[in-house]
């Protein structure tokens, strides 16, 4: 700019576009590259879109997420030897968040699995990891199971916010909108056959719709039109990032990658210790016994500034960790933090970073180095934001 602190090479690769590119272009968004895709960062403003999702509803095109499917009589049993979660908990019509780890226990990717039918599991994976996970499944999956690459066939829309289900009820029927969280059901929106998943990545209630690529524009337009009176707005990737961070949800590629394990990332709840063998189990058991050397923690800057990915975290003047996500928390949401205190009205800089376990304790004072100076910070319990339920 005002030059942004990021590098772009001269020979930039051609970016992929979702089937909604032309429709979104009419809304004149700001575009940015993300994991090889050209995606809207915001349509009006990140702050406004963040508030829309916290107070009414937002519609996100997250068609960069990759749809893979494992089917066959051995699909669930086969996947259960690959993912860390215990798929004994994944009944037909249910959804489950899980990492997939390497033998070393490193996170190759994390995703939600949707059991569409007894013998059919949909995996919705991070854009950057689609090829890797597809290869991994094809090489490692044993038994009666086939892996299909549906990335060209399906797009994903996320409808999120306190009024999302009311909008969904109007578009898909009350019965589907009343389905419990972490379920997936077939449905129909504007005549298009879709999968309605009661999942999301914002800290709000809502759903995600898996839509055949050919019907994506129809469903997108229908939801925006019918949801407008409830305050529904299109929301870009910028607010998706601030919303998920405020909700304390880690981001694959920023907070989670092949240098991290689920135990370090605060994802021990996704490890199905009670089940049989799975890839990475021995390494994770070993780390569990020894104790992870670092933990993903939430922090709040008590000094001025905004911490960003890559900023060093200091204790006693010495580097002890690194920031993996950071933003300024937009003010004004009517929610609570993890201690059930109201969200402060003033903007607060928040972030996630890895710290030694002794320092990863709420209340601990640390410093974050930004632009060559140090800002005071305090470790806080996650999430930064918890929605008011039943409001």
């Amino acid at each position: 700019m005002p030059s942004q602190s990021s590098n772009s090479s001269i020979a930039e690769p051609v970016l992929k576009r979702t089937p909604l590119f032309e429709l979104q272009k009419r809304l004149n968004p700001r575009w940015a590259p993300f994991s090889g895709w050209e995606l809207p960062v915001y349509y009006s403003s990140i702050l406004k879109e963040h508030q829309a999702v916290r107070t009414a509803a937002g519609l996100f095109d997250v068609s960069h997420l990759g749809h893979l499917e494992v089917s066959g009589s051995g699909a669930v049993a086969g996947l259960n030897r690959i993912v860390t979660q215990d798929l004994g908990r994944l009944g037909p019509g249910q959804a489950l968040y899980t990492p997939i780890c390497s033998e070393a226990g490193a996170i190759l990717d994390e995703m939600i699995l949707y059991r569409l039918a007894a013998d059919r599991v949909r995996l919705v994976v991070n854009a950057a990891n689609g090829d890797k996970i597809l290869d991994w499944l094809r090489q490692r999956l044993t038994g009666e199971a086939e892996t299909a690459d549906l990335r060209e066939d399906f797009g994903t829309l996320a409808l999120q916010g306190p009024r999302a289900l009311e909008i969904l009820a109007g578009a898909a029927g009350k019965a589907l909108a009343a389905a419990p969280r972490y379920t997936v059901r077939p449905g129909r929106v504007a005549g298009v056959a879709v999968w309605l998943a009661r999942t999301g990545y914002t800290g709000e209630d809502g759903c995600e719709l898996f839509v055949p690529a050919s019907g994506l524009g129809t469903v997108w337009n229908h939801l925006l039109e019918t949801g407008a009176s409830a305050g529904l707005e299109p929301v870009g990737l910028g607010a998706r990032d601030t919303l998920r961070l405020e909700a304390g949800l880690p981001l694959g590629g920023s907070d989670l990658d092949e240098r991290t394990t689920p135990l370090e990332a605060g994802l021990e709840w996704t490890i199905g210790w009670a089940k049989g063998p799975f890839i990475g189990r021995e390494a994770l058991e070993k780390q569990e016994r020894a104790g992870a050397a670092r933990r993903l923690s939430g922090f709040r800057l008590t000094g001025a500034g905004v911490a960003r990915h890559g900023c060093p975290i200091l204790s006693g003047g010495k580097p002890v960790g690194v920031v993996t996500s950071g933003t300024l928390l937009p003010p004004g949401a009517s929610g609570q933090d993890a201690e059930k205190r109201p969200i402060p009205p003033a903007p607060t800089a928040i972030g996630l970073g890895y710290l030694p376990p002794a320092l990863a304790v709420p209340g601990t004072a640390v410093e974050v180095e930004l632009h060559g100076r140090r800002a005071a910070a305090e470790i806080v319990k996650l999430p930064f934001y918890r929605r008011k339920r039943g409001a």
Binding site: S45, G238, H371
Partner: protein
Amino acid sequence: MADLEKLKYTKTHEWIRVEGNKGVVGITDHAQQEISDVVFVEVPALGKTVGAGEEAAVVESVKSAFSIYAPVAGKVARANEELAKNPGRVNAAPYAEGWIFELEGIDAGNLEGLMDLPQYEQFVQGKEA
């Protein structure tokens, strides 16, 4: 609103209003639009000496940090402390209440390399074309 004709502009989208050996610096309307919601401004320390093209301030949007460069060499005489409370002024009034810092001890005879308004407008259009 300042008279935009009287300002000088950089290729990195700062403006400077030179009076004598002093100059007030901010970012252009084009820059504030590109940055979008400004949520924090790190102003330089008073008395700090900066060279032409050196980073003097940081403007943060929700998404990213943007470096603000000194259009000319000088010493920081004033900084807009109001931006600590109201960073959105950079968006709302980039040429007025959204100014960022003032340099003193600048060489007003040495402003070549900076653009005048028509040159800057052409520069921005060329970038967008």
